[in-house]
């Protein structure tokens, strides 16, 4: 069983994750994790913090000579900004009083958290509710991605919309070919004409002291059929993906495949007819299901999209109430971004990696990578004996 626990405050000394239950012998490298951390920090519309931080991982347990040990892995990402917060975030009591935050920011955890935990200073909520915590999840996702790769899974993302600008996004099975263009785009959008409009929309929002949300898509190509299960609500893969993705700060909706748009069409235009051809093996006429049927992967690309609300910290402050005096005030302003949609795409990739790694472990198991790979090879043989040739493992692009 894969178990993950994270800790750390936004302006505390560090973020920490403990990952337990991965097979021993899985390749782990700080470079691969750092590459993912760097991708999370890119994107047009980010604030100054991204320049301050430049996140790096430290692997402090569970890895030896580049491979996982049987024991838990501990990952650490330090908050370089902590030097400026030593007093305000001191572990020990301090003499110097720190001004409490008493005006909740609408859209954040501030109000509910202050009531729930009976807090005078809203900082005690926002330090943990902050999306800063996604940095350590991206690090965990980078480790999990390696295991997903061992079953042929490759995870990509793109931005579909920012504010009122919608890109013409390519079909899911073409995303691999567009990956380079997506990575090169400051808004992670391969439609360069729309990317220009997105950048302009972000600039316009910034000049008004406003923020923008958007839609991101994650596509996982190459995963074998049968990850997840149809048997029980908490094992169905769509639910697990949705829960993981909805846990990302500011994500308010998740759809799979044709999603909400598919609901206005008749069934004949939605469901993906099953075809067989001696050369192609089993294949589909389309992929409205987004690679998941009955809570299990069906071998087609997994396609999930997240709707991200505009960030709730506005320079042009929203109305709020001072919780000590109950007077009308403007919400507290904490340094923030104008638009974090491109970063959310990278974070969503990490969450998908975590869920798929967990599902892969359930299906193929094994205490070591050698055992895991034996189990996977034998499952592939079983699939092949039933005519599933695993064409997606070798041919990412498919019929038109």
């Amino acid at each position: 069983m894969l178990r993950i626990l994270t800790s750390g405050e936004s302006h505390g000394p560090q973020l920490t994750a403990i990952v337990d239950g991965l097979p021993s012998g899985l390749a782990v490298s700080a470079d691969a994790i750092n590459a993912q951390l760097a991708r999370r920090q890119q994107g047009y519309g980010r604030g100054r913090r991204q320049a301050i931080e430049s996140d790096r991982v430290e692997i402090v347990s569970g890895v030896r000579f580049g491979r996982t040990l049987p024991g838990p892995i501990t990952l650490v990402v330090r908050n370089k900004d902590y030097d400026n917060w030593r007093t305000k975030m001191s572990v020990a009591p301090v003499d110097e009083p720190t001004a409490a935050i008493v005006c909740p920011r609408p859209g954040h955890a501030d109000f509910a958290g202050a009531l729930k935990h009976e807090l005078e200073d809203i900082r005690d909520v926002l330090e943990r509710s902050s999306a800063r915590s996604t940095a350590i999840l991206v690090a965990v996702g980078a480790v999990c991605r390696e295991l997903v790769g061992a079953i042929g899974g490759r995870i990509y993302s793109q931005v579909c919309a920012i504010g009122d600008v919608t890109a013409r996004t390519a079909a899911a099975d073409q995303i691999e070919g567009l990956a380079e263009a997506v990575e090169a785009s400051p808004v992670r959008c391969a439609d360069s004409a729309a990317a220009g409009m997105m950048i302009a929309a972000i600039d316009e929002a910034a000049s008004r002291g406003d923020t923008l949300g958007g839609v991101v898509e994650v596509v996982a190509i190459g995963c074998p059929p049968g990850l997840g299960s149809h048997t029980h609500w908490d094992r169905r893969l769509e639910g697990r993906l949705a829960a993981a993705l909805m846990s990302i700060q500011a994500v308010k909706g998740v759809e799979v495949g044709a999603g909400f748009a598919g609901c206005s069409l008749p069934g004949s235009e939605v469901h993906d007819e099953l075809l067989y051809d001696p050369d192609l093996g089993y294949h589909r006429a389309r992929n409205s299901a987004g690679g998941i049927e009955g809570g299990m992967t069906n071998g087609e690309p997994i396609v999930v999209r997240c709707a991200m609300k505009p960030l709730p910290t506005l320079k042009n402050r929203l109305r709020s109430v001072d919780m000590t005096t109950r007077e009308a005030v403007q919400a507290h302003f904490e340094r923030s971004d104008v638009c974090a949609v491109p970063a959310a795409a990278v974070i969503a990739e990490a969450m998908v990696a975590i869920v798929l790694a967990e599902a892969a472990l359930e299906r193929f198991g094994g205490d070591s990578m050698a055992a895991f790979q034996r189990n996977f090879a034998s499952a592939k043989e079983a699939l092949a004996s039933r005519g599933y040739t695993g064409v997606r493992w070798s041919i990412p692009s498919r019929r038109t």
Partner: protein, 188 residues
């Protein structure tokens, strides 16, 4: 309005963003004619844009510009470079949208100043004490109009004119097949 099968390519954006230069390159590549609203006005009135501005005022210039926009929009297979203020008038914007694909050229204010700061032919910058502030101020006011009218945006800061033209053509070809039913269009 009658649509020709191929939409025209219309360049919008602030002064100094390369609408005329890039427009000519695109016209050559598409085998379209090139037209420029300011040039048409100057040819028709036999006066410079600055002269019209200073002697007859901006409203008269905008009237002539609307006429030029209407006339050029009726032509087929043409690349139209518009004046920097043309799409601030919503009537011009919708006439142009019915004529083709609108691509917005966008450049950082510092580069706009480098490209045209000292030229006297730019009447709206003439006499500004702090031209960069003036450009920023005008951009803040105008960019929402450019964004509302545009089908695509190409950022040309630091780009060679050939590369900028290639990016414009890529955007044009991507959108031309769907025109006039382009995503995000609020009018037309």
């Amino acid at each position: 309005m009658v649509h020709s099968l191929t939409p025209n390519l219309i360049l919008i954006g602030f002064m100094g963003t390369g609408k005329s230069t890039i427009g000519r390159l695109c016209a050559r590549a598409l085998r379209f004619r090139f037209a420029d609203t300011d040039a048409l006005i100057e040819r028709r009135t036999r006066r410079t844009v600055s002269a019209i501005f200073s002697e007859e005022g901006e409203p008269e210039f905008r009237r002539l510009e609307a006429q030029a926009v209407n006339d050029l929009a009726m032509r087929a297979n043409v690349v139209i470079a518009t004046g920097g203020g043309a799409v601030l008038n919503p009537a011009n914007a919708s006439v142009l949208q019915a004529s083709g694909v609108l691509i917005w050229l966008r450049v950082e204010p510092e580069e706009i100043l480098r490209r045209c700061g000292t030229r006297e032919s730019r009447p709206l910058l003439a006499g500004a004490a702090e031209p960069l502030d003036r450009i920023r101020e005008m951009l803040t006011a105008r960019e929402p109009y450019y964004r509302a009218a545009a089908d695509a945006c190409v950022i040309t800061t630091g780009a060679r004119r050939e590369d900028a033209a290639a990016a414009v053509l890529e955007a044009y070809h991507g959108l031309a097949s769907q025109w006039p039913h382009l995503p995000g269009r609020r009018s037309s």
